[in-house]
């Protein structure tokens, strides 16, 4: 059995229910919100897809413009070819700013998950604190996010309450508001002590060098303004051409991700604190991460780089709902992850592209219209050609039968006999029965 299906089999029902219920709710909220916000959601998606495609087609000049504008704004730009380089750049910046033992607060960022930054910072002696509520829970529990937007979609409040009690965050309570207050009290002290704040980036505007972050908890604001140094990490493809693109993308992202008309907070970061300003960091750094993206851009899966990480494809995906993100065995999960992970790290990961019924719901909800099922099919093709996907039974026998009419008919006669032997179909379902008349005989005899 493949690891995905084994994970699904062993998943406890409470986790399965948490994932299913939250995903189904988000799917419905997305539909309600997008149809309320946009007169024609379909044309909004088309417009966003065109803009993101434009970005991919003009990535180099756009990113160079971003760098130039950031420089004018006082944001220091760093380039990282891969995860290792990104970790060492970020670690270097932290070492310049504070001694080991210092608190580093983190706002939610998939790019830092991708480069496994927390381990590197902890190994260097820093006290890294995740400040997004979900990420905070994940960190306390030595767990990993199971969703790119809602990291603890696999947990319920009872589990969170027990975890908080065990870690002296607060006394056991089943009230979500009280749990949130407990986390908030704990995190406030961390924000006061923090010397560096690390965040991701939702959009970086090439025209103006502004970094745009969206969130709902206020922790990103504190992470990017309270510490003396702010380090933002972004995948190189996260650039948007102009400020005029933001209204569409901000609404589409909030609607697709969480069914909101707008996120509670939207940050436009223009650079470090100005002399007359009351607060803000003294330094702002932007780490632009390649880590396989430029190779992916030149390859057959480039469309996946249009992604704005809304997670709508995870929520709607029946396969994701059965297993949660953990079943995919990669930071990026769901339909998006099943394409992005092998696109970034190579066809060695192509087997995960098999974890899909190819139903196409992902493409239907994608705010930038990525043809995910088509990309999954291409990955399967490449995986089979390069032997990173090996089916238990080769298809040559099927071809021999399906290209010869007489063999085909004889084999079909024998198909119902399959019920006599144990087979993977009948492990979960009754075998189909031949129902009524045989078509071929009927058609022949009526002529």
């Amino acid at each position: 059995m493949n690891p995905f299906d084994a994970f699904v089999r062993n998943l406890d029902p409470a986790t399965g229910k948490s994932v299913h219920d939250a995903s189904a709710t988000k799917t419905q909220q997305r539909i309600d919100t997008l149809s309320a916000v946009f007169p024609d959601p379909e044309s909004a998606r088309s417009a966003a897809a065109r803009t993101r495609q434009y970005v991919l087609d003009h990535l180099k000049p756009l990113v160079l413009s971003l760098e130039e504008q950031c420089h004018k704004n006082g944001i220091v730009v760093h380039w990282a070819r891969d995860a290792k380089e990104a970790r060492s750049v970020i670690l270097g910046l932290c070492r310049q700013s504070c001694r080991p033992g210092a608190v580093i607060v983190k706002a939610k960022s998939m790019a830092t998950e991708e480069i496994h930054l927390n381990h590197a910072l902890a190994d260097a002696g820093y006290d890294v604190v995740e400040t997004d509520l979900g990420e905070f829970v994940v960190q306390l529990d030595h767990d990993t996010p199971s969703h790119i937007v809602t990291p603890i979609i696999h947990k319920n409040r009872y589990q969170v309450a027990r975890l908080f009690e065990e870690n002296n965050i607060g006394t056991y309570t089943e009230k979500p508001e009280e749990l949130t207050s407990q986390a908030r009290r704990h995190l406030r002290t961390q924000f006061r002590r923090a010397e560096v704040g690390i965040s991701g980036v939702n959009f970086a505007v090439a025209e103006t060098g502004r970094l745009v972050l969206v969130e709902n908890e206020g922790n990103s604001r504190l992470s990017t303004t309270a510490p003396r140094v702010h380090i933002a990490v972004m995948g190189i493809e996260k650039v948007l051409p102009s400020e005029a693109d933001l209204p569409l993308f901000l609404r589409l992202l909030a609607g697709s991700a969480t069914g909101q008309r707008a996120t509670v907070y939207t940050h436009f970061i223009h650079g470090p604190r100005k002399p007359e300003a009351l607060d803000g960091p003294d330094e702002v750094h932007l780490v632009i991460l390649d880590n396989g993206r430029l190779d992916a851009l030149a390859g057959p899966y480039r469309d996946i780089l249009r992604c704005i990480r809304c997670g709508a494809c995870l929520n709607v995906c029946p396969v994701y709902r059965q297993g949660s993100g953990h079943a995919y065995g990669h930071v990026y999960s769901g339909p998006l992850g099943a394409v992005l992970a092998p696109a970034l790290e190579g066809v060695g990961l192509a087997a995960i592209a098999k974890a899909s019924s190819l139903c196409g719901a992902c493409e239907e909800v994608c705010p930038v219209k990525i043809p995910i099922p088509e990309l999954l099919l291409h990955l399967r093709d490449q995986g089979v050609r390069e032997k990173t996907i090996v089916d238990p039974i080769p298809w040559s026998g099927f071809v021999a039968v399906a290209t010869r009419a007489y063999l085909w008919r004889t084999s079909l006669q024998a198909v119902p006999m399959a019920k006599l032997v144990p087979n993977p179909w009948s492990r979960h379902r009754h075998m189909p029965r031949r129902d009524g008349r045989d078509f071929r005989r009927w058609f022949r005899e009526r002529a």
């Binding site: 493949n2 995905f4 299906d5 084994a6 699904v8 089999r9 399965g16 299913h20 189904a24 709607v316 029946p318 396969v319 709902r321 059965q322 098999k354 974890a355 899909s356 019924s357 190819l358 139903c359 196409g360 719901a361 493409e363 239907e364 099919l377 990955l379 399967r380 093709d381 490449q382 089979v384 089916d391 238990p392 298809w395 099927f398 071809v399 039968v401 399906a402 290209t403 010869r404 009419a405 079909l412 198909v415 119902p416 087979n423 993977p424 179909w425 979960h428 379902r429 075998m431 189909p432 031949r434 129902d435 009524g436 008349r437 045989d438 078509f439 071929r440 009927w442 058609f443 022949r444």
Partner: protein, 231 residues
Amino acid sequence: MMKVRLMLTCLCDAFYGEVGIATVKVLEHVGCQVHFDARQTCCGQPPFNAGDWKAAKQVAERCRSLFEGNDPVVTPSASCAAMVREGFKMLGVEPEVPVFELCQFLRNVAHVERWQALPNQRRVAFHRSCHGRMLGLGSTQEDLLRLVGNLEILPLNETEQCCGFGGAFSVTHGNTSKGIGQQKLSQIVASGATEVVGGDMGCLMHLQGLAERLGVPLQFSHVASVLGDAL
């Protein structure tokens, strides 16, 4: 009289002959002359979805050459129609076969506006198969069924959700497939329907096998059979 060529599909060939028979009756009822080429086998979708495109191409090429010509090819499956229309393109198997899913043909080509009533009242849930997305089927199948008297289509939640069949996926990812199917069955039961109608025997075979294993009392009917029952 319009000449149409029937593409039977492997499942109707192997198990569900009655669906093929109903398809012929329905097409004849709207004035078509139905041809069936007994040399037909499969469209090549199983190896195509599995990723063995070399194998898929051999089967698809044979299918394409068998259905060469301009007369419409009609099939009681959105899945097979999508393979022939979209999958063949991806495989580079050309020129295009003029293929139609049955309901799409009835609505858009034969312009069916009326249908007979069923002899007895039936209250059903309609399951949209995912390959209808690739064909842009939308509500075509339900729209057609709404023309049938004595047939009530009950509202079903989460209609965008797959049944979990997915061809070879149903055996390579059996536990996942089963879990998805159970979700679908529970939505169907919650709708109050005792019968499920769909346009693809793949979905229905999977759901029926699962319902029987789990002891869920439901009937499963192809849309062609429902249309045929009303004639």
